[in-house]
């Protein structure tokens, strides 16, 4: 175990190592965010930015329900994606932490590779698979099904499939880590106390791997609301999500203040939802404890 060393900011050893990160993330993460916020108080005229300092963009956003419908759709897709990811990730993460010991590393390699490979290529692979003349329909016909069984490419279902595909590995890894950290003797103690497998699972394993479930959910939710590759390529761009709206605002309408404001609305609303959920959980837990 590494021992913590107490240091002062004037210590060159600390300064030398911390400064690059601080400079990088201040200059290329925090500062751009602040500037994005300031841009929302400007206007555009003939595709040119005007430094006007007023609330025109914000009053536009709050008066048009169109933006909010798309935002609602995005958040709904995000939550659906989180639920599906947890559902498919949990059994795999659980097995990986407890029962697949013999081939644990091979499984991890396969999942990591599938997760980290070029997203554009994988999404394109899904298009080839799900297309009307694609691999899925061909294989189904070969085994005797009628033609055109798989027809959900270019719908919201395909978008959801793409999101779950791209993001579920986050849940597998976070849940796996928290299950492998559970002290095995707690579960054995539950058995000794007469609990069945299911009961021990429900009362020991599930509550103890909550941090992993939460970390995975938050990551997946925040990343899914910013996705635009899946809705565009698999969903066919027919029911746009916020990210696509933002992209269009910048690229087609060249309206920076509006795009900046929509970006901030999306971020603030999704962080608010995350906080709401974590707050709800901690209140529930406090209620149980008392």
């Amino acid at each position: 175990m590494s021992d913590a060393v107490t240091r002062n900011w004037s210590d060159p050893a600390l300064l030398l190592k911390a400064l690059p990160t601080v400079l990088l993330q201040t200059a290329c993460f925090v500062a751009p965010l602040i500037m994005t916020f300031l841009l929302t108080f400007q206007r555009t005229k003939n595709f040119q930015l005007q430094w006007t300092w007023d609330l025109w963009t914000w009053s536009d956003i709050f008066s048009k329900p169109h933006y909010w419908t798309i935002l609602g759709h995005t958040l709904f897709m995000g939550l659906a994606c989180v639920a599906l990811c947890l559902l498919i990730a949990f059994p795999v993460a659980y097995g990986l932490a407890t029962r697949f010991k013999a081939i644990e590393n091979e499984i991890k390699v396969l999942i990591t590779f599938a997760f980290i490979t070029d997203a554009t290529l994988k999404i394109y692979g899904w298009v080839l698979f799900l297309d009307k003349n694609g691999a899925a329909n061909f294989l189904l016909m070969e085994v005797g099904f009628p033609p055109d069984m798989v027809t959900f490419l270019y719908t919201d279902w395909a978008t959801l499939l793409g999101l779950v595909y791209s993001l579920s590995a986050f849940a597998i890894f976070t849940i796996y880590l928290s299950i492998s950290n559970i002290d095995r003797s707690l579960i054995l103690a539950a058995y000794d106390a007469g609990a069945g497998k299911l009961r021990a699972h429900w009362e020991i394993t599930l509550p103890l791997c909550k941090p992993g479930i939460w970390a995975g959910s938050i990551l997946i939710f925040l990343l899914s609301v910013g996705a635009f590759l899946e809705p565009k390529v698999l969903g066919g761009g027919k029911s746009p999500m916020s990210a696509e709206l933002i992209r269009q605002t910048f690229e087609t309408r060249v309206n920076w203040p509006l795009g900046a404001a929509l970006t901030l609305v999306l971020m603030v609303v999704s962080i608010f939802i995350v906080l709401l959920f974590t707050r709800m959980i901690s209140i529930k837990r406090a209620g149980l404890a008392s």
């Binding site: 590494s2 021992d3 060393v5 240091r7 002062n8 900011w9 190592k17 911390a18 990160t21 990088l24 993330q25 290329c28 993460f29 751009p32 500037m35 994005t36 841009l39 498919i88 059994p91 795999v92 659980y94 990986l96 029962r99 697949f100 590393n105 991890k108 390699v109 396969l110 999942i111 990591t112 590779f113 599938a114 980290i116 490979t117 070029d118 997203a119 554009t120 290529l121 999404i123 394109y124 692979g125 899904w126 080839l128 698979f129 003349n133 694609g134 691999a135 061909f138 595909y165 590995a169 990551l219 990343l223 609301v225 910013g226 996705a227 635009f228 590759l229 990210a243 933002i246 992209r247």
Partner: protein, 265 residues
Amino acid sequence: MTATFENRLIDIILWSSLAAILIFFYIPIFTLIAFSFQEGRFLTLPFDGISLRWYGELFRNSNALDALWNSTIIAAATTIIATVIGTMAAIVAVRYRFRGLKAFQLLAGAPLAFPQLLLGIVLLLWFSVLGRAFNFNTGLITAIIGHIVYITPFATVIVAVQVHNFDATVEDAARDCGADSWQVYRYVTIPLLWPGIFSAAIFAFLLSWGNFYLTYSLAGSARTIPTFIFSGIAIGSSPLYPAIATVVFIPGILLVIVASRLRRA
């Protein structure tokens, strides 16, 4: 229900869910590999024939080769810089106690949970405003900076795991033997952290290589493999893309295997 029966049932459920998810994960990958050997011009089944024709076309297509080159340059630069900054940040975040540690950890990790498209847009606005003031355009350099912002936190987390398991007394021992602080780093700290640093570098390379959103926003007119394919599939399918995919998959899986070996060692 007897205990053995219960056990068998759980095993069956867990193993079949593993099989299901691996099939799910590899459907698009194997679809692409299969289609890369298609002889004809159209990506439909059944195949006209099996051939390596599109691999040949790929290496004669200058746009595809340019994209491959740009991807390599961006990924190489990002890997080196992100791994160095991330390693230093990991040592700071795990080993040192100082005022503002929590703020430092938050700052070092925040881009992880920030959607890439939005990060790309925010940076594009930033570089556009700066570019107007200092007269530069977006291109490979701005794309590299964007990748570094997003990938450094990943490198930090991976190295931090290694630092966490690091026995600091060997550093003290080296110091007692008269090593100065540079020698301690050169001969003790870095060699011991090397598996973590190297696997962080591999992940940084793969994340940068496959990155779409940041490159799309920040690379200006330069194309990398992901943006080259995206702009292509917006117009229509081409049998070149499955061939590119297969060529890209092989080094990818090899790197993931190397990284996994290293972390076990």
